[in-house]
Assembly symmetry: C2
Homo-oligomer: 338 residues x 2
Amino acid sequence: MREGFIDVYRGEYVESKHRVHIAVVDFEGNELCQVGDIEQFVFGRSSMKPIQALSLIESGAADTYQFSEADISLACASHNGEAQHTERVHEILDRLHLTTDDLRCGTHAPRWDEAYRKIILEHREITQEYNNCSGKHSGMLATTLQMKADTNDYYKIEHPVQQHVLQIVSDMTETPTEEIRLGVDGCGLPVHAVPLKNLALAFAKLAQPKLLPEARQEAIHRVTNSMMHEPAMVGGTDRFCTDFMRVMDGAMFGKAGAEGVYCVGVKERGIGIALKVEDGNGRATSTGTLEVLKQLELISDEQLQQLDQYVHTEILNGRKEVVGKLVPRFQLECANIK
Amino acid sequence: MREGFIDVYRGEYVESKHRVHIAVVDFEGNELCQVGDIEQFVFGRSSMKPIQALSLIESGAADTYQFSEADISLACASHNGEAQHTERVHEILDRLHLTTDDLRCGTHAPRWDEAYRKIILEHREITQEYNNCSGKHSGMLATTLQMKADTNDYYKIEHPVQQHVLQIVSDMTETPTEEIRLGVDGCGLPVHAVPLKNLALAFAKLAQPKLLPEARQEAIHRVTNSMMHEPAMVGGTDRFCTDFMRVMDGAMFGKAGAEGVYCVGVKERGIGIALKVEDGNGRATSTGTLEVLKQLELISDEQLQQLDQYVHTEILNGRKEVVGKLVPRFQLECANIK
């Protein structure tokens, strides 16, 4: 097993280092490249939202409740809580005749500081639409209504929506439901752990679904096109997911997950990439992901240039001077590369 | 080399893991216990503030500018930016006939959210006294005046204050100045990297300085007593450093450093402990430190009970439910334990 690291430099010395595990798999299930342990079970966290959003489409809820591409993209999001996100959550909930009180994601301060400042200046409490997962929760509420199920406990694993999601995760990751490990996410929903290579496989199938049933193919195209056409919904201003999909311009889609997960689907090659930072630190994910794409020759120098702020993720001090940076230190071990 | 980890559980499964390196050394330089690589150079970051504060005392600045124990404790702090901290920074600077504009630490949002909210509601800019290092910078400004040096560039490595600090760090860590590795800290000051075991040694000497020159002994007692008598200044509300020193009640002192560093000095035994989380994540430091003290039988069950929130550092979701926790998984490898 070849080990991989992303080193954190302070000046000319390594101050900290992140171990990374990386799987590159194609849509037929061929394991193309790896770093570290790709058999280990990994909670995909929010990186699995595009997989879970298939439930929104396949249940018919997206049609019944007129989900636009921006709405579907928001259902796959870990958003900043900017006005563009929270206003859209309100619009979706209005169509469901529900309110933000019906969300069960709980609250945290919005990632977008401007939104937080506005809440404070208006003497408001932080409400649930600012939770980065509120788009996914809104989508699940739509699916709940579509299934005529109870909107009060849509977050519980035994709820029909979560059972539907579990089955789809099982299908897409080719992991039997009884082998999938379950936990509770930061937003209260079930999270699924599968082997890292199976997470990569699911993204490969999202990228190239042609071996799947037709309805699944259609749902997949709708989800991944939504993300790529409306990347601002997936994250927001100054977010890697958003800027990455803008620059890659329809060639690939990517989604971050908490605790250092990042997944990419490469459309043309039908390849899925799944990366886990062993210690869970998300600061290393963009550096690692872009290095993988560079080694696979799937990203151009010009594209890397446009994503410059994410390549080395420079560390600034309080005076805004660069005092450190992240540097990848791994070489993909590849077989079967066609 | 025995490896050590702190596992991050989500529900019943390990989601992420932090590798830790730990050195336990006594004041005579005996290496008592270890986990991982204790020869590696580690930037002590803010954990070195109590060592660096010796410059404030030994230069005579603390006497000239009437530094109280609370002021000295604040000079060793990575504080929350609560009113108790920022008001004291203003008082110190007033005595120096300087203002917060003379600080060179730069700005970041105060860790204490209430302070941040107040700044926003009062339509103020974030100013430098809110920087967690503003106490140390105020102390260095006092030392600068005492040395009749230039207050504009006290942050530069060639400045007399930084040269004095470098010499003290070299003495205390028993690392020649030319071997100390230098970087720039988040607050713009030079930071020093020394082998992890030498950082532990410095804390052992802070805990039991009887082999050192008398003036150094006096300075050390003044710094460590200040921290233990005024622990609220070192961190603040809900901070491990503060609560740890309160509970240990004069038996030991501790200080966190950025990028996953924690150091403790155990007074009675004259022992120093230095811990580095390899990946730099500070969330694992209290769990690791308390586990070390437990294995060394230096902390009682009752004390651990009082520090319960720091033992497993539970992970909450947006609905404030416990969804995970940190669990130490290492055994100190000990020799020479008397």
